[in-house]
């Protein structure tokens, strides 16, 4: 059986520098892929390469056994991405931002308020994004993941700017997603506290 998300021979250059060479993995439903490595080792670039935002020197990423570049639209409709920059409009309110997201990827049929309650930002919902702290914005980004009805989560340092409670929240949410048959690719440089099977790719 082919793995849900797999990759072989991923090689990426930035200018003259080789960020990584011959990286491969095969990830199945319910599994977490952890990208480890110091700052500047190419974790974010690898994430971007997986979603097809960076052109690889060599190698390919496969979704359901087919190269993602041949089914970009379908693949992008099957993933949610928690990037380093949260990607919200500072002038729009929390709800206005999340409502716009609904056209970007399929949404779960759950009341938005329940999810905001869960990530503990419900009382901020009428405020413009700019008045939220960095940690609160991260929580809203987490709400975006929960609202998306997609199997694949890509998370770039999801614990950044979060307090203890927030970190526990992220771990809980990811655990739940994996338990429900989802997949997660996460770049992190700390303990992630995940129960599911974890694969690791270590970059130098």
């Amino acid at each position: 059986m082919t793995a849900k998300l797999s990759a072989t021979g991923l090689t990426l250059f930035r200018g003259d520098r080789c960020l990584f060479e011959d990286v491969g993995f095969a990830l199945d439903a319910g599994q977490l892929l952890l990208l480890e490595g110091p700052n500047g080792s190419g974790k974010t670039s690898l994430l971007k390469a997986i979603v097809g935002m960076l052109e690889l020197e060599a190698g390919a990423v496969y979704w359901d056994g087919d190269p993602v570049l041949e089914q970009r639209q379908l693949f992008h409709g099957s993933l949610a991405w928690m990037a380093h920059r949260v990607g919200f409009k500072a002038d729009l309110t929390l709800v206005e931002n999340l409502r716009f997201e609904a056209v970007l990827r399929p949404q779960v049929a759950v009341d938005i308020d329940d999810i905001l309650e869960r990530v503990d930002v419900a009382r901020l919902k009428r405020l413009p994004m700019r008045s939220l702290s960095a940690g609160q914005q991260r929580r809203v980004a987490l709400a975006r993941m929960l609202l998306a009805d997609v199997p694949l989560w890509l998370m770039d340092e999801p614990y950044t700017n979060l307090d203890r409670e927030g970190s526990i929240l992220v771990a809980g949410v990811v655990n739940e997603h994996l338990a429900g048959g989802g997949l997660c690719v996460m770049a992190a440089h700390q303990d992630v506290d995940i129960d599911a099977p974890v694969q690791k790719v270590t970059l130098r």
Partner: protein, 250 residues
């Protein structure tokens, strides 16, 4: 056929072939230009209207023609590079830009120097050819500025390729709109309309110049592209072997 093309487009093959080709382009090119220059300057009779000043066309027309030609080569190879991901095509586009821009400047200056005795002014806005040539120069500058602004070669190749293709679509539109604009101006034009057919003694040197310029231009372009190829392939094995080989390649 396809395999042959593929082999042609392989950088090491091109790099070697270009070196062999360059003298075979320069030699006939130089001969043609020498003949064209001599015949154009001394043999061809003076023009009945413009006198000896018309002899400037022997350098103006070929350079103006090459400035357009270079832009088309640049845009087409940039498009090939973008669509079929052929690195050599991007190298050709990168090499064609500065050479094309220098011929555009040459065409502009020789046009202005020609205009001085003809119109009594260095620059005549009413002339559509010079005006579109000037806009073409700006297109070249924009292209080279974009290339310079991007550090990563692969990214610069692709971004400038988009610009070159958009520019190529616009070149005929620019040409046409400038023509329309100046037709309302009733301005003077360089080449008289409906005059007597051009004399063979005037024509043959011009044709020789055009062909000669094209051959020398091709050689200059190949030289540029060789440097570009070498730079782009600097990480590869064949370049390493080339450098380490006893003869080297200077």
């Amino acid at each position: 056929m396809w395999n042959y093309l593929h082999k042609m487009a392989s950088p090491p093959h091109f790099y070697r072939l270009a070196k062999i080709l360059i003298p075979w382009l320069v030699l006939p090119g130089a001969l043609l230009i020498a003949y064209g220059a001599y015949a154009g300057l001394f043999v061809a009779p003076p023009d009945y209207q413009q006198g000896d000043a018309f002899r400037i066309i022997y350098v103006h027309v070929p350079s103006a023609y090459l400035s357009m030609m270079a832009y088309m080569i640049m845009a087409i190879s940039a498009g090939i590079g973008l669509i079929w991901r052929i690195k050599l095509a991007h190298a050709v586009a990168a090499g064609a830009a500065p050479v094309g821009a220098s011929f555009t400047i040459l065409a502009l200056i020789t046009g202005a120097v020609w205009g001085r005795p003809m119109w009594g002014t260095w620059w005549e806005w009413g002339d559509p050819r010079l005006t579109s040539e000037l806009i073409l120069l700006f297109l070249y500058f924009g292209y080279m500025a974009l290339r310079n602004a991007i550090d990563d070669t692969a990214k610069a190749d692709k971004a400038s390729a988009v610009l070159a293709m958009v520019g190529a679509i616009n070149v005929p539109i620019i040409h046409f709109s400038v023509q329309w604009w100046s037709s309302l101006h009733q301005g003077p034009t360089l080449i008289r309309q409906g005059g007597p057919a051009i004399d063979n003694e005037m024509l043959y040197p011009l044709l020789a110049m055009i062909v000669g310029f094209t051959l020398v231009f091709a050689a200059l372009l190949l030289r540029r592209v060789r440097a570009e190829v070498l730079y782009r392939e600097r990480r590869t094995n064949w370049v390493r072997e080339l450098i380490l080989s006893p003869r080297g390649d200077g």
